[in-house]
């Protein structure tokens, strides 16, 4: 893949070409390909911005952006736009695309250098720090998570993670728990819980009891490596996976919060 990465130094626009391929001397060899991709990204960001304006809640006439919705929109738009099917993207990791997409949206630069400041709304507030990090250490985890969430409808995904980006990331960082089948099973379990349990699970991940319990329990059941890692969630039939997930989460709920048991729905 070759991408065009925009920079903005004191309002002076610049761009460089980055590629994951083995280049002979410089990634500039792929500029034409990267420019074509950059044009496609214009359309992608327009589409994402329009989608975000539709789903974002407004309070007193002002939009209240939710990081979970922002990343889902970005991931879903990348998927729908079929930019991943571009020749420039064949056989490549996604991180380079994120490296191009993020500054393009943040600085709001269309192909040709025309400014588009509204695209900045697509970047979750807490993710803005990416630009303060040195390029080597820049993390685009919000885009990784967004692209991963694309497999589910917004409402279903939101219900699993209580509309919280950090909850989604807690599951995403555990590589054995990334299958959509598992998320569907968790959703099935979640819908069987009382509002009190669901509210408790919606708490920030670092609190005494919160969503973090779910990935921790599930990772014990589905380790990413070592003994027991031969069968992952996606390898089980739907009903069996549901049963495994419900059993593991119910047991954990009982062990940690015996008082909650009576609140559980039959």
């Amino acid at each position: 893949m070759a991408v065009l990465v925009w920079s903005d130094r004191d309002s002076v626009l610049g761009n460089t070409i980055r590629s994951g391929r083995r280049v002979v001397l410089s990634a500039e060899e792929y500029r034409a390909e990267a420019e074509a991709l950059d044009q496609k990204l214009d359309a992608l960001l327009d589409m994402a911005w329009h989608a975000l304006t539709i789903i974002t809640e407004h309070k007193h006439g002002k939009p209240r952006f939710n990081a979970f919705e922002q990343v889902w929109v970005l991931g879903r738009t990348v998927h729908i736009s079929e930019v991943m099917r571009q020749e420039a993207m064949q056989g490549e990791v996604h991180s380079l695309l994120w490296e191009a997409l993020t500054p393009k949206a943040w600085y709001g630069i269309r192909h040709g250098g025309v400014r588009e400041p509204r695209w900045r709304e697509l970047i979750p507030v807490k993710r803005k720090k990416w630009q303060e990090q040195p390029p080597k250490n820049r993390h685009y985890d919000f885009l990784d998570v967004g692209y991963w969430l694309r497999e589910q409808q917004l409402h279903d995904a939101g219900e699993v993670f209580h509309w919280k980006f950090n909850n989604a990331r807690e599951l995403y960082v555990r590589s054995s728990l990334r299958s959509v089948e598992l998320r569907k099973a968790v959703l099935y379990w979640m819908r069987r819980q009382t509002p009190e349990v669901r509210e408790a699970l919606a708490k920030p991940t670092r609190s005494a009891f919160g969503f973090e319990l779910i990935p921790k329990v599930l990772q014990r059941r589905f380790p990413a490596k070592g003994p027991g890692s031969a069968l992952l969630p996606q390898h089980y039939p739907k009903d069996e996976l549901r049963a495994i997930v419900c059993d593991a989460l119910d047991t954990a709920l009982d062990a940690h919060f015996p008082n909650m048991t009576e609140l559980r729905l039959p």
Binding site: E28, G91, E92
Partner: protein, 872 residues
């Protein structure tokens, strides 16, 4: 016989010019950006602080209505092309020497030297730089340039050079009013009806102008403002512009656009421009992020010195190069007399000090005092685009620059000082490491090459397999007492492809006694034959029962073994005089074998091969992955186990029952094939190719990534008894371990003698390790085990053992199997010892730490013996 006369030969000037310009490594535009400006600066008029050079692109209509493009290069602030015209005869009479003021003659002559100048400017590069861009219409390649000059005394002169292809100049030149009239004329018609479009204004300022008509229309864009010409001018002359000596403009008359060549943004602003910098380096922050350091008066020896060295880094700077063969801004520009000559490349010369992601943002330049400049000029190529690296002054400069880049890198926090000073693995060390690993992990590299009957042409390489089956007197133990027999001995031989065998192969049965001495007990000559049109040939040979005797044998199928101890019965395939494959079983004669291991008696291994490209680890779209799951049961009892295995989203086995035969105590546990699968891997974003015959396709979850094949073996209670995993790099670079070899070698600051990283991909050692430091750097000899190379072999052996044994902690035999299998083809005494020790090592979990360590050291010693023998 009459004496002949000498006549002048005709020189193909077009070819001479082409040759000169093709010597410019960075192309004709660098020559055009460099030579005229250099000549103008050399001809700076006294009292003038600045020389101006103007490159102007003009369009003219030809009589037939077509467009013709001209380039004019005008210098002002110079003396102009002064001096008289000198004929070829006069020049010859003056031994090709011209005075310093004879610019006109110098511009028209070829192959002269000027007083007080070296030979650098005498080859005609300046003229060639112009003429090369002229493409006079006609069947043969012709080049033309015209030039006019206004001198201090008011004289106006016009000349012309025509390479058609012989070299011609206008003689005599036109003067004053005649010259101006020609310049102003719409067309200047030559005698061969060639119309040269002019229509120019005569010069008003003292200086000179070169007119290059008939530019290549396809290249016209490159001459316009913002084009390639402008970018080369900036690269070559930004420093002279910065110091105010020079002003360059590129003008496009057709589009009325203009570009004044500017100093690159990163070099603008003090304190880098002027003043006397400190020797120890002065650091400052850049307003747009990043840092800069300036050094001054760095001594190079012999009174020569670097006047100024500036290094700068900013993450906001990207690469800015025109051609990719040689660095331009990407590194340290070496300037002579404010002119860029060459760049020491950030990638090529300082790649060891600058991390990959920091390289685009690094810039630097270095300039020298007058004396050093003069010395450097002697080392400069005539094309002014590089220095002769053999010269002491050039080497001294390059060493000093490398030291300063290292210092810069340390200060920027990219590298730890000690990591830079010592931690470099030499090429010979890397080669030794690779050869060592290949000795033990590259069975194909040691296999004999099959030759076709017509001699010399290689036929497909044969892959051999050999298995030895037998029954011990006690099925639970490998012990055989004197007088007892090993019964039902049989050998299974297989090879593929079935029709690649040339002639036939022999089968041998050998007895290896407790001292390691082999004796042949049976030979079946020409027993193994080819089979036409068969992918794989497999044959079984029944060899009957064999009695072990202490005394002399008196019948067939008896083996004399007077000494008790650990012996082996070995089957060997001999093909074309070489032992290509063998299989052995252990026999404890009159001795109790050790008990089965307590820890991990059952192990599992995975072999994953890209069979579409067997020389690479990476697997790409539509290539075929072959997977083999094998198990070993070291328990005496056969048992049933259950296998679950998956890869990406596919599940290969779930609770698949697997019958594993037991292993008699003391015998080597045989590898038992549990499951074999082949899959053609597909990129989900790409169209699937036609399905290969009998090979299932597997759509991967993503276009690129690292995926794990994972397998668990359960017993009847559901407890996991063994686990194995293997990594597949789907359209993903394996990184450190690019080759088929499992790990690379690197230096790192660390205390232990060696370490293998968690991923088992990098073996590290410290260049500061006391023993390593004391060892000699090896001389160029063939012997590998000497000095530091012996150290490398030693740690490679240790690393290889750890690579094979660490996964066994989880019952994963994948690496161990590979190490064992790849040594199976060799059965001389050294390899025999190694294999035995390797097997002992794998069973040594239950031994004490001391005992286990002893076996480890023994195995390393056996490996070094083998390496010394094979490598020498």
């Amino acid at each position: 016989m009459k004496n002949g006369q000498f006549t002048n030969t005709s020189i193909n000037m077009v070819q001479v010019i082409t040759n000169i310009i093709e010597d410019y490594r960075m192309g004709s535009f660098r020559a055009l950006a460099q030579e005229p400006v250099q000549n103008a600066l050399d001809a700076m008029r006294e009292g003038q602080g600045t020389v101006s050079v103007e490159y102007r692109l003009l369009r003219r209509k030809m009589p037939d209505g077509s467009d013709c493009y001209l380039l004019t290069v005008t210098d002002t602030g110079t003396t102009g092309l002064r001096g008289d015209m000198v004929t070829a005869e006069e020049l010859q009479a003056r031994h090709f020497k011209l005075g310093p003021d004879e610019n006109w003659a110098a511009f028209e002559a070829q192959g002269y030297t000027k007083e007080n100048e070296d030979a650098l400017g005498s080859r005609g590069q300046g003229k060639a730089a112009f003429l090369y861009h002229s493409h006079v219409p006609g069947e043969t390649r012709r080049m033309l340039m015209l030039y006019d000059t206004l001198l201090e005394d008011g004289e106006y002169r016009f000349g012309m050079r025509f390479a058609r292809p012989i070299d011609q100049t206008l003689s005599p030149p036109q003067y004053n009013a005649d010259a101006k009239a020609i310049i102003e004329r719409e067309y200047y018609q030559l005698d061969d009806n060639l119309d040269i479009p002019l229509g120019l204004h005569p010069l008003r300022d003292i200086g000179s102008r070169i007119i290059v008509p008939y530019l290549d229309k396809e290249e016209v864009q490159l001459f316009r403002p913002g084009g390639e010409l402008g970018r080369w001018l900036q690269r070559c002359w930004w420093r002279a512009i910065q110091t105010g000596k020079l002003c360059i403009r590129v003008i496009d008359d057709e589009n009325t656009t203009e570009e004044e060549i500017a100093v690159p943004g990163w070099w603008q602003g003090l304190p880098r421009e002027r003043g006397k910098p400190k020797e120890y380096g002065s650091w400052s922050d850049l307003p747009y992020g990043g840092r800069v350091c300036v050094w001054g008066e760095l001594q190079l020896g012999d009174g020569q010195q670097i006047r100024r060295l500036v290094l700068l880094h900013s993450d906001s700077l990207g690469e800015d190069e025109i051609v990719k063969d040689h660095p331009e801004f990407a590194g340290i520009q070496v300037l002579r007399g404010s002119q860029w000559i060459e760049t020491r490349g950030v990638r090529e010369d300082y790649g060891d000090y600058i991390p990959l992601e920091k390289r685009p943002g690094l810039r630097g330049y270095v300039e020298f005092d007058k004396k050093t400049d003069g010395e450097l000029r002697k080392s400069e190529y005539s094309t002014h685009d590089g220095f002769d690296g053999k010269r002491a002054i050039v080497r001294a400069i390059r060493n000093e620059l490398a030291a300063r880049v290292r210092e810069f890198s340390q200060e920027m926090g990219w590298e730890q000082p000690q990591a830079i000073s010592n931690q470099q693995v030499s090429q010979r060390e890397k080669q030794t490491h690779s050869r060592f690993l290949e000795t033990f992990l590259n069975p194909n590299g040691r296999k004999p090459q099959s030759l076709s009957a017509n001699g010399g042409t290689e036929t497909p390489q044969l892959l051999w397999d050999c298995r030895l089956g037998l029954d011990y007197p006690d099925p639970k133990s490998a012990r055989v007492d004197w007088g007892q027999a090993i019964s039902n001995v049989y050998v299974t031989v297989a090879f593929e492809p079935g029709d690649a065998l040339f002639g036939s192969a022999d089968l041998l049965l050998e007895w290896v006694d407790a001292t390691g001495k082999p004796q042949e007990v049976n030979r079946r000559e020409e027993a193994i034959d080819k089979k036409w049109n068969q992918d794989r040939v497999e044959e079984q040979f029944e060899l009957g029962d064999w009695q072990i005797l202490r005394g002399k044998t008196n019948r067939a199928r008896q083996i004399e073994c007077p000494e008790p101890g650990e012996c082996k019965l070995r089957a060997v395939i001999v093909y074309r005089g070489e032992r290509v494959r063998s299989a052995a079983r252990t026999v404890y004669v009159q001795t109790d074998p050790p008990p089965p291991p307590q820890k991990n008696p059952v192990t599992l291994s995975i072999s994953a091969e890209n069979i579409s490209a067997s020389d690479q680890k990476r697997i790409d779209h539509s290539q075929v992955l072959q997977l083999q799951f094998n198990a070993r049961n070291r328990m005496t009892k056969a048992d049933t186990y259950y296998l679950s295995a998956s890869f990406a989203n596919e599940i290969f086995a779930r609770d698949l029952p697997v019958e594993l035969e037991g292993t008699p105590a003391g015998d080597t546990a045989q590898r038992q094939e549990v499951l074999t699968e082949k899959r053609q891997l597909l990129d989900p974003q790409r169209a699937a190719p036609l399905m290969l015959d009998r090979i299932q396709q597997l759509k991967m979850p993503d276009s690129s990534g690292k995926y794990t094949i994972s397998a668990d073996l359960y017993d009847k209670t559901g407890e996991i008894v063994a686990h194995a995993s293997s990594t597949v790099y789907f359209q993903h670079d394996p990184g450190k371990a690019n080759s088929k070899l499992p790990f690379e070698i690197e230096q790192k600051v660390q205390d232990p003698m060696w370490e293998l990283n968690e991923e088992l991909t990098v073996l590290t050692y410290s260049g500061d390790y006391p023993l390593y430091k004391e060892l000699q750097v090896p001389q160029r000899q063939r012997r590998s085990l000497q000095g530091r190379l012996a150290f490398i072999a030693e740690i490679s052996a240790n690393g290889l053992l750890e690579w094979a044994l660490r996964p066994k902690e989880q019952g994963d035999d994948s690496n161990f199997d590979q190490l064992l299998d790849d040594s199976g083809g060799q059965d001389d005494s050294l390899w025999e010892t190694y294999i035995r020790r390797l097997e002992n090592l794998s069973n040594s979990h239950s031994e004490s730490f001391i005992k286990s360590g002893h076996i480890w050291r023994e195995t390393v010693a056996a490996m070094l013996d083998i390496f010394r023998k094979e490598d020498n």
